[in-house]
Structures are given as C-alpha cells and as structure tokens.
C-alpha cells in the first residue's frame, strides 16, 4: 500500500504530466468528452421520446392507471359495472390523486344512411375527462361535449360515414342486461388526433346520456387516472393495497399498453448497447494514449523505480493521470451535453419527415430532449470508470518496465 503523502505527490505529478503534451492531452480529452456528450444527448432525446410517446399515447384514452370492476376483461361486449364507486373515489382522494375520469364504455354500431361502422362508445364527464385526455384540445368542428346528448366523433370516421357536425346518426348497442338499444343522435363535434385508428373507433357522449342510452343509469365501468408515468407502477400498487380486491382491479399503463412498455424497454436496451460501444471506443483511445505516454517516459519510469517508487505507486501514477484526463473530459462533456440538451429541450428536433407513417403510437413530430438527473450522474460515473479501467493496462505495463533497460537508454 502507499501512504496518503505518496498518493498526493503522485496526483500532483500526474496532473502536471497532462500539460506536457498539450495537443495530445487535448485530443484525448476531446474524444472522451465527445463520447460523454453523445451519450448525454442520446439519453435525453430517448427520455424525451419516451415521455412524448407515453403522454401522447396514454393521453389519448388510457391514462396511466385504470381501475375496473374485479374480474374485468377487456374486449368483451358485456358491460361490466363497478360497485361502490364512491369508495373508490374516496380512496383516490386520500392518495392525493385528483386527475381522474369515470366512464362507461360499450361497443356499439354507428349508422349514417346506408353506411355503418363498429365503434367504442364512451360516456364521460367532459370536465373530468379533460383532466386525463387531450381529446378536448383536438377539436376540428363543433364543440367538445357541450350539450347533454350530442355525439363527439373522430374526423376519419365522419369522413367515411359522410357526416358533419349537426347531422343525425343512429347509434345501436347491446345495452345493460342484453337489452338492445337504438337511438338517433345529433353530432355535436368532431375531433382529430394524430392516430387515425383511434379516431375511427372512439365516439363520445356525456356520461348521463350514455348511461341512459345503454339502460345503465348510474353505472360506471372504468376510472382512468393520469399521474406521472414513472410513478404509475408504485401508485397502482398503493391503490391496490387500499381498494377491496373483491370489488376492484387496478392496472398501470404498462399492463394497459404493453406494446408501449416493450418498445420503451427495447429502446433502453439498444441505448445500453450504444453506450457500451461508445465507451469501448473511448477506452481504446485512452489506453492508446497512455501506452504511448509510458513508452515515451520509459526512462522516467526507470528513474522513479530506481529511487524507490514501488509498483503500486507507479500503477497509481498512470491511473491517476488517466483519471485526470477523464475528469477534465467529464466536466467538458457534461457542460456541452447540458447546453445542447437545454437547447433541444426548448426547440426540439423536427422529425416530421421520419415518423409520419407511425400508426401504433401517437407521437408529436418535434422530438424534445428531457434530461434526467440520474442519467447525467450515471453517464459521468461511467466516463470516469472508463478512464480508470482504460488506464489500468498501461499502468500495469509501466510498473513492469525493467529499470535497467530504462536506465541504459540515456
């Protein structure tokens, strides 16, 4: 082992050594900081993309957490009423969850003249629904559920049925208890999101009108909540613990939208691979520099060794020098990365030409960066660790150098 005094003098020597070949040190530092810079920017863009995908996908309809009746199954024609809604709402309030929307949902058929289309009818309270989804901000015609019994439908559906705001259509459904329901409705508004498949199938009515039409007064089949996407899983767990499992079933968005979850995980894995490749290249750069350095200072290591600098101290010297390069590069890379990200956070990258044909996930066309503190910390630590690891081999080489050969080379 080496003493603190020795360590400090080695650190002093190592730090000063960086200035001996300014050009080479700068090149190495720039290469490392460029690697870190790329990493920070890619990660922030990835986080921004995920945030955007999550909010634009979940903000369509699903929200981040859904509560249904126990034993609820998606994609069935049967209305599955929830019992004791009041208790559920009280529990949400105790957890401080205020952004939620209660709904009744049922498959239905929409007819206009001789054309018809299978749709999903959702009865919602307009004010509450706007806490969870952004459909209300996507109006192209008429108004958003302003009148008690007017329909709201998506633009592609209106086009294919040949109807407009103000026209009459017929809604048919299998109501509560299997009683068929048929009624004429006037179209009160037309919306359009980025996701045409969604717009073609989702039709809205104010909650009481929908309940009445389906012969299901007071019935609610779903409560959708909007929370921070990252906290959804833990909040869902907390909710599950408080709600009677015999009555309620709680799902977080990862379960409601498994494709999105998978895509995000795939992206994360790809990013991991990219990080590995970038840092493998950075590591080779540092190893190469430090190897050159120690061969140039062959004689100097001989002297250090001869005057009693042990192998541990020599290893420390070279690793410290590599660490200092890494440290300077980390500071530069962090500054540059944060600067670039704050620009990208404000203005974003316009990617419209690349993602126009995406039909699975709604997404904005401008990709904005989203910097996560933990990404910055982990990237910086990875950079420093790379610098240390990359210094170890040349350091070991230096500690094994033969002082006799070194001293003979005058």
């Amino acid at each position: 082992m080496i003493s603190v005094k020795t360590f400090l003098v080695l650190a002093r020597i190592g730090f000063r050594n960086i200035r001996r070949n300014v050009r080479r040190s700068l090149l190495t530092i720039l290469a490392i900081s460029f690697g870190l810079f790329c990493l920070i920017v890619f990660q922030a863009l990835k986080a921004g993309l995920h945030k955007e995908m999550v909010s634009s996908t979940l903000g369509l309809d699903a929200g981040t957490i859904q509560v249904h009746a126990a034993g609820y199954e998606a994609n069935t024609a049967v209305i599955q009423p929830m019992a004791n809604i009041a208790e559920a709402k009280r529990t949400l309030a105790t957890l401080g969850l205020t952004r939620f929307s209660e709904r009744i949902k049922s498959p239905a058929l929409l007819l206009a003249g001789r054309k018809s289309s299978a749709i999903l009818l959702a009865g919602v309270l307009p004010g509450d629904e706007q806490q969870v989804t952004f459909i209300g901000r996507k109006m192209v015609e008429g108004s958003y559920l302003a009148e008690a019994d007017r329909l709201l439908l998506g633009s592609p559906l209106a086009v294919s049925l040949g109807v407009r705001s103000g026209d009459e259509v017929v809604l048919m459904a299998q109501g509560m208890l299997g009683r068929p329901a048929t009624r004429k409705f006037v179209i009160g508004g037309i919306y359009q999101t980025d996701l045409a498949t969604f717009d073609r199938s989702h039709v809205y009515l104010p909650l009481p009108a929908a309940q009445h039409f389906l012969g299901a007064d007071e019935v609610v089949t779903e409560i959708a909540l909007l929370t921070e996407a990252e906290r959804a899983q833990s909040l869902a767990t907390a909710l599950r613990e408080k709600l009677d499992p015999g009555l309620f079933q709680v799902s977080s968005w990862q379960k409601v939208a498994p494709d999105l979850d998978q895509l995000i995980k795939l992206n994360d894995a790809t990013m991991g691979l990219l990080v590995f490749i970038v840092f493998a290249i950075v590591a080779m750069g540092i190893t190469n520099t430090m190897t050159t350095v120690i061969f140039e200072r062959f004689r100097e290591f001989g002297i250090l060794n001869a005057i009693g600098t042990g192998p541990t101290a020599i290893v420390s010297l070279v690793v410290l020098e590599s660490l200092f390069l890494g440290l300077i590069a980390t500071i530069l890379g962090l500054l540059a990365g944060i600067a670039a990200c704050s620009w990208l956070q404000r203005y974003g990258l316009d990617l419209s030409s690349f993602i126009s044909a995406n039909q699975y996930f709604a997404s904005g066309h401008v990709l904005k960066a989203h910097v996560l503190a933990e990404d910055l910390v982990s990237s910086a630590l990875v950079t420093l660790a790379t610098a240390i690891v990359a210094g170890i081999y040349p350091a070991w080489k230096a500690s094994r150098m033969d002082p006799v050969k070194a001293l003979l080379h005058n």
Binding site: S3, K5, T6, L8, V9, R12, I13, R16, N17, R19, R20, R299, E300, I303, L304, N305, A306, I307, G308, T309, G310, P311, T312, A313, S399, P403, V404, L407, L408, N410
Partner: protein, 230 residues
C-alpha cells in the same frame, strides 16, 4: 560491518537470440561505511552492471547480495523498491529528475515516499539543497537548470533520505571536466560531512584520482582494488 556484501555475484544478459553476454563474472565485494569508491574501466567492462547489483536495481543471475547483512534474494519488486528507498541514493548520468517537479519538489519526493512529516521534510530538503549550493534555484524545474545544476539537485535528492550508500553511475559523463570535478569534490565534501558512503563510476582520470578506493574492472571482472590514503 559491511553495508553491502556481494558473494559470488554473476550476471549474464541474454536476449534470447544471440549468445548470452556475461556482464559480470562471479564477484565478491565488501563496501564498508564511509568509503569513497570509484569503479573504473573501459566501456563494457561491467561498471553499470556492478552498480545495479549493489543498488538492487537488477537481480543477479547467481550469487547473493546482502544489504546490512540481510539477503535480498527472496524479496519481491515492492520490497526491493523499499530497500532502494531506505538504503540507497542514486545519481545517474543524465535526465535524473522528474521534469514536472521543481528542484525542491524533486528532492522532497523521496521523503514523501518515506512518509516523513512536513516540518522535518522542509528542514531536510532545505539543508540538502543548501549543502549542494542550490537554495537559490529551488523553485526551478529541471528544464530551467544547467546540466551541472541538475546533477547537484540529484545529489541533494540522493543524500536527503540519509541513505547508507550513494550510488552514481557516470555522474560526470555529461558535464564539462571542470563541472565534473566540482561535482566529485561536492560528493567528497558531503561524504565528509555526512559520513555517507559513495560508490561512483567514471572513465575520467581526473575524477578517478579523487577516489579513496579504486576498483578497476575489465571484461566483467574486478582486476585491481586499490586503496589510497586520505
């Protein structure tokens, strides 16, 4: 008591291709306290090899090296470095110093390796620099010093750790003859003042003449071992 004892120490170098070179034939040698020894002999005679054996910089092919009667054969790299740190001071022919440290820091370095406390360190470094006459230049880096000044800094570094023996391989070879003779006179003065043993090598008759004991080597063998009075 001998500070350094060589028993039948032999060194051959082989690079694996050409036939092995015997740089030092089986040699016995005792170096005692307060000696002022010069290794003389033509180029290739084995002076550097013998100094490297004495200073535990290199291991013998066969034979034993004892430092203060302790055998060094079984010691590892780290332990040998420790022996060098404690028992020897070194002055080499050139580029002795750490370029990024100034004169003061170069001398201080060996004391830091030995974990000497700050006050004592400062006092010893100042004394060492004063005794080689370089107090004025202690904040200069090696690149800002002349060859003779650099060698004097190396001498200060060699004595500051109070070693048993100062080893100097051709310390004057890169100096003009006047500066070289001054350096050896400085060694002699230090030896007198500190009672430290000096072993150095040289080709230069004016330098060799200043020694109290002259070992003349040829073909890896000590041919003569003369002790001069004084």
């Amino acid at each position: 008591m001998a500070l350094v004892e060589l028993r039948q120490v032999m060194k051959t170098y082989s690079d694996g291709q050409s036939s092995p070179v015997t740089a030092l034939q089986a040699t016995d040698l005792l170096v005692g306290p307060g000696e002022f020894v010069c290794l003389a002999g033509p180029s290739g005679a084995g002076k550097t090899t013998l100094l490297n054996m004495i200073g535990c910089i290199d291991r013998p092919t066969s034979g034993r090296i004892l430092i203060e009667e302790k055998d060094t054969a079984t010691l590892g790299r780290g332990q040998l470095a420790k022996i060098r740190r404690r028992a020897f001071g070194f002055v080499f022919q050139s580029f002795n110093l750490i370029p990024v440290l100034n004169a003061y820091e170069n001398v201080e370095y060996v004391l830091l390796l030995q974990n000497v406390e700050a006050d004592e360190r400062r006092q010893r470094v100042n004394t060492a620099l004063a005794s080689v006459g370089l107090s004025r230049l202690m904040d200069k880096r090696p690149g800002q010093l002349s060859g003779g000044q650099q060698q004097r800094v190396a001498a200060a570094r060699a004595i500051v750790s109070r070693p048993l023996v100062v080893l100097a391989d051709e310390p004057t070879a890169n100096l003009d003859s006047k500066t070289g003779e001054e350096l050896i006179d400085l060694f002699a003065a230090l030896k007198q003042q500190l009672q430290t043993t000096f072993v150095f090598s040289s080709h230069d008759p004016a330098v060799i003449r200043r020694a109290q004991r002259i070992l003349t080597l040829r073909d890896g063998r000590i041919m003569t071992d003369e002790r001069l009075g004084g």
